[in-house]
């Protein structure tokens, strides 16, 4: 009997060794992995007790952590939140973090690679880690002016970028919201606020419309058709192209027409300059069939379609579908059907044409500043892609002047400033609503800034008044005219 009792003891000891083993595994060997698990909120709770770095515009904090007496040591505060909500995103206990608050988290919490030494020193000295601050490329004045001139009650985004560096000078979207509502520590309050925000039409605190909304780019896509046409050698600026009022899409009985109140009807055969100025549709049926789906797909890819751009938060990938049949290709070439683009994508198209065919990587981060004010990192301008040759880019730039000379973008004219731009209107099925676009740059001779505006899901008349006239105002603000 005693031998059996001893064996029972051995069995119990085996049990205990097993649980000590599994405790050791979790608390020692797998601890780092578990602590880094995205489902683990403890890191977030710990971070709320740390001095998180600020996000700065022109040296002024638009997001900062201030000490409080509440549940945690610090409260995240957003200044002018409506101006910047879609850039900073929110830093919330209940809902996690988004946008820059999420993508810059390692810097803001002081966990970036360059801060490794400081962290080690803090462990030795017992001091708390402090996060670094991030200065943005945004021009605060411009951001505010654009925010004020865009109307409330519509879904609209505007982007201004420096074509030579890729720096984003302004990125505004409406509707906007107060990020402070989501930064409250009370989970119930934050959840109630989030629910209220999600009910607002056209708003999602999780999506920055300027880089996250994919919508049909309409005629702004014709810039890419022209690039493909000129690259193919089949067309030049003097080529006379058939411009009937209506053509039947190849292989179907569906007609594709020019805008019936437009000036396109005046010329049965037209050069690219007229076609671009008046945004005629029918010539692109021929052009698209001649250059072919592959060439168009290739041009679109070079301009950034299909890629998620990191500014550093990641944009949605714009879409130009492959394996198109001839009819679908013709419709896609005028930016309808399944072609989808972000506002940033169409801004990058303008950047590429402006900068001799080279697109600079769009970027929001100017520099990263340690708590001791030492600059830890200053991102250098980076090439995103060579989208086309300088020759083609120059020719397209010339063509893009035409819409301002009595064409579709005449309302964008600024006295004393040479502007290149292309408008677009994408009809959204049978809703009677359109996406209204304009994308362009200035000055044409020495391009500096690319500007893109898109008003989504809007009636044609209103959309028209929101794009070209606002382009004008934005360019006036940018160039102080």
């Amino acid at each position: 009997m005693n031998q059996a009792i001893r064996n029972v003891w051995i069995a119990v000891i085996v049990f205990f060794v097993a649980i000590m083993g599994s405790l050791s595994y979790i608390q020692f060997f797998a601890a780092d992995e578990l602590n880094a698990n995205p489902l683990n909120k403890r890191q977030l709770f710990r971070d709320f007790d740390l001095a998180r770095g600020a996000i700065l515009v022109d040296g002024n904090p638009i997001a900062e952590s201030v000490q409080t007496d509440g549940q945690f040591e610090y409260q995240r505060i957003y200044n002018n939140p409506e101006l910047y909500s879609h850039l900073t995103g929110f830093y919330s206990l209940a809902h996690g973090s988004t946008h820059l608050e999420s993508y810059l988290n390692d810097w803001l919490t002081g966990r970036g690679d360059s801060q490794f030494f400081n962290r080690m020193m803090n462990i030795v000295s017992g001091a708390n880690n402090e996060g670094s601050s991030v200065e943005l490329t945004i021009d605060g004045e411009l951001q505010r002016e654009i925010y004020n001139l865009l109307p409330d009650g519509v879904q609209i985004s505007a982007i201004v970028t420096d074509v030579k560096t890729g720096d984003i000078k302004a990125m505004v979207s409406k509707p906007s919201y107060d990020t402070n509502e989501l930064a409250v520590h009370s989970t119930s309050e934050a959840t109630a606020n989030m629910d209220a925000l999600l009910e607002r039409a056209g708003l999602s605190p999780y999506v920055n419309p300027a880089i996250g909304h994919l919508s049909a780019p309409g005629s702004t896509f014709k810039i890419l058709d022209v690039v493909a046409a000129l690259e193919s050698g089949e067309y030049d600026l003097e080529t006379e192209i058939d411009n009937p009022q209506s053509v039947t899409l190849p292989g179907t009985s569906t007609p594709l027409t020019n805008f019936d109140q437009g000036i396109c009807t005046q010329q049965e055969k037209a050069k690219l300059s007229f076609i671009i100025a008046q945004s005629c549709n029918t010539p692109f049926v021929e052009i698209s069939q001649k250059v072919g789906a592959e060439a168009l797909e290739d041009v679109a890819a070079r301009f950034g379609f299909g890629e998620r751009v990191e500014i550093p938060q990641r944009s949605a990938a714009s879409v130009f579908p492959s394996d198109l049949d001839p009819a679908a290709l013709a419709q896609s070439s005028i930016g309808e059907r399944d072609v989808k683009a972000t506002a940033l994508q169409m801004n990058m198209v303008a950047m590429g044409i402006a900068n001799d065919g080279v697109i600079m990587k769009p970027n929001l981060v100017e520099e990263i500043i340690a708590p001791d004010l030492k600059v830890l990192e200053r991102p250098e301008p980076e090439e995103f892609s060579t989208a086309t040759s300088k020759e083609v880019a120059d020719q397209v730039a010339e063509l893009m002047r035409e819409p301002l000379k009595g064409g579709t973008a005449a309302a964008a004219q600024v006295p004393g400033l040479e502007i290149a731009a292309k408008t677009g209107t994408a009809t959204l099925g049978d809703t009677g609503l359109v996406n209204s676009w304009i994308t362009g740059f200035a000055p044409v001779d020495d391009p500096q800034y690319a500007v893109t505006i898109v008003a989504e899901k809007i009636d044609y008349e209103t959309g028209h008044t929101l794009t070209s006239p606002n382009m004008k105002k934005i360019l006036e603000a940018v160039f102080n005219k």
């Binding site: 029972v8 119990v12 979790i26 578990l34």
Partner: protein, 455 residues
């Protein structure tokens, strides 16, 4: 039965010193937990420390009078565990605004009073053997109580609670004691029969079918608990208890093989046809699947518990500096994760070692006592404590599927405390019997008991 006769020394003084050490641990833990109070040292601290020390010393005195030769290590181990438990529960109260520690302290008082009463009333554990079948009846009643409409209540899907006068109680906790007594009594009377009969096939000595009846009964009982009360933890505990005791009685591996076979059959059936068992297993295997985490009875608590343990790391965050409150049932089923988070791997291993010591001393008492009943009882009860630790800690560390069982002495819960303290009282009595000098009168008594058994 070979016996090692040590010189009869009381060793109560050793116990006193160890007890002082245990009280230092318990009061120290209470102090550190009390410091986590944002308004300064919690006023509860002094009360808790005083009550715990008074109870521990009371128990010590009871042992001095009525169980002079009892094992000197068991009581200090348990007092330390109980104190650490109260401290951690109090620390969680401070965060959540609960008063669970006060209830736990009250139940500690009740449980230790009951333990003292058991020692005073029974004196000699062999008395219990006379009532073997009465304990079987009591066990039956205790296990059926939660199923009686109006009396039993269902909490978190398990129907193992009885509510009387506003107090909830788990009779199953006491049933594990009464069943142990019954098993010990039954097996000590019938072991010869079970041992001698049966066929030998290869290395296995197979029992006769009719001797299998009690085992089948125990198995059916466990399955019954599983189906009627939906309590996987207790089912495992009861069956494990029975298997350990029948093994001790017969020393036959065949019983273990048959038992494990039955567990496999029962387990497979349960996993196939019982939703809650299936969910437990699913939550165990796919713990980190977000869908499983968010599901009802999903893996949320396992995952949170593991995050807590990982947060504690090697050295722990210290009392009040972690977030054990993020884990559901942090002060009861999941208290090990709270200890692991705030005391670190080192602290929680120290707690586990207290259990190792406790169980080992219980087993030692089983080895030392002279009667088969005592051996069976002490080894069965000790094994229960070990198995319960394994099921709970293995569950929260994802070694095995999580089942709802409490960590003995540490987790909040009155029934569990009461039952476990009574177990300690019984172990102390057996150990007292094992070590005390054998006067001739007692030897005579033993002969009488043997005659009774053989009659």
């Amino acid at each position: 039965m070979n016996e090692l006769r040590t010189a009869p020394v009381s060793r109560r003084n050793t116990e006193l010193w160890l007890l002082i050490l245990a009280m230092v641990v318990a009061v120290g833990a209470g102090y550190l937990a009390g410091l986590s109070n944002p308004e300064g040292l919690s006023p509860e601290f002094a009360k808790q420390g005083a009550v715990l020390c008074a109870l521990a010393l009371g128990m010590h005195i009871v042992l001095r009078i009525w169980a002079k030769y009892a094992d000197p290590i068991i009581l200090p181990c348990v007092v330390a565990l109980n104190g650490i438990g109260v401290a951690m529960i109090h620390r969680l109260d401070i965060t959540t605004g609960d008063t669970a520690a006060t209830r736990q302290l009250l139940w500690t008082g009740v449980a230790m009073a009951a333990a003292m009463a058991v020692i005073w009333a029974i004196r000699d554990h062999r008395m219990l053997r006379r009532a073997t079948y009465i304990f079987l009846m009591i066990s039956g009643v205790l296990m059926v109580l939660p199923l009686i409409p109006g009396l039993g209540v269902e909490i978190n899907g398990a129907r193992i609670w009885v509510r009387l006068a506003g107090m909830s109680f788990q009779p199953g906790e006491l049933a594990k004691i009464t069943l142990s007594i019954f098993f010990a009594g039954y097996l000590s009377s019938n072991r010869d029969l079970i041992l001698l009969a049966g066929r030998k096939i290869g290395p296995l000595q197979l029992p006769r079918v009719r001797d299998m009846a009690p085992m089948i009964l125990a198995w059916g009982l466990s399955i019954g608990i599983l189906i009627l009360q939906r309590d996987l933890g207790s089912a495992i505990l009861f069956f494990g208890l029975f298997m350990a005791m029948i093994y001790v009685a017969t020393a036959r591996i065949s019983w273990i093989v048959i038992g494990l076979g039955l567990v496999a059959v029962g387990g497979l059936l349960a996993a196939q046809f019982m939703g809650h068992v299936e969910r437990r297993i699913n939550a165990w295997i796919h713990a980190f699947d977000p869908e499983v985490i968010n599901a009802q009875y999903g893996s949320h608590q396992i995952v949170q518990g593991m995050f807590g343990l990982a947060n504690g790391g090697l050295f722990g965050t210290g009392f009040g500096n972690g977030r054990p409150d993020l884990v559901p049932y942090a002060n009861s089923d999941m208290i090990v994760t709270a200890l692991g988070e705030e005391l670190g791997l080192i602290g929680v291993i120290a707690v586990v070692l207290l259990y190792v010591l406790l169980v080992s001393r219980g087993i030692r008492a089983a080895l030392g006592t002279r009667d088969a009943f005592g051996k069976l009882l002490a080894s069965g009860l000790s094994f229960t404590i070990g198995l319960q630790c394994f099921v709970v800690i293995g569950g929260v560390t994802r070694l095995i599927p999580l089942t709802g069982l409490t960590t003995p002495f540490v987790a909040a819960g009155g029934s569990s405390l009461l039952a476990n303290w009574i177990i300690i009282a019984l172990l102390l009595l057996v150990s007292n019997n094992a070590r005390k000098p054998v006067p001739s009168a007692d030897l005579a008594n033993e002969v009488v008991l043997k005659k009774e058994a053989n009659a």
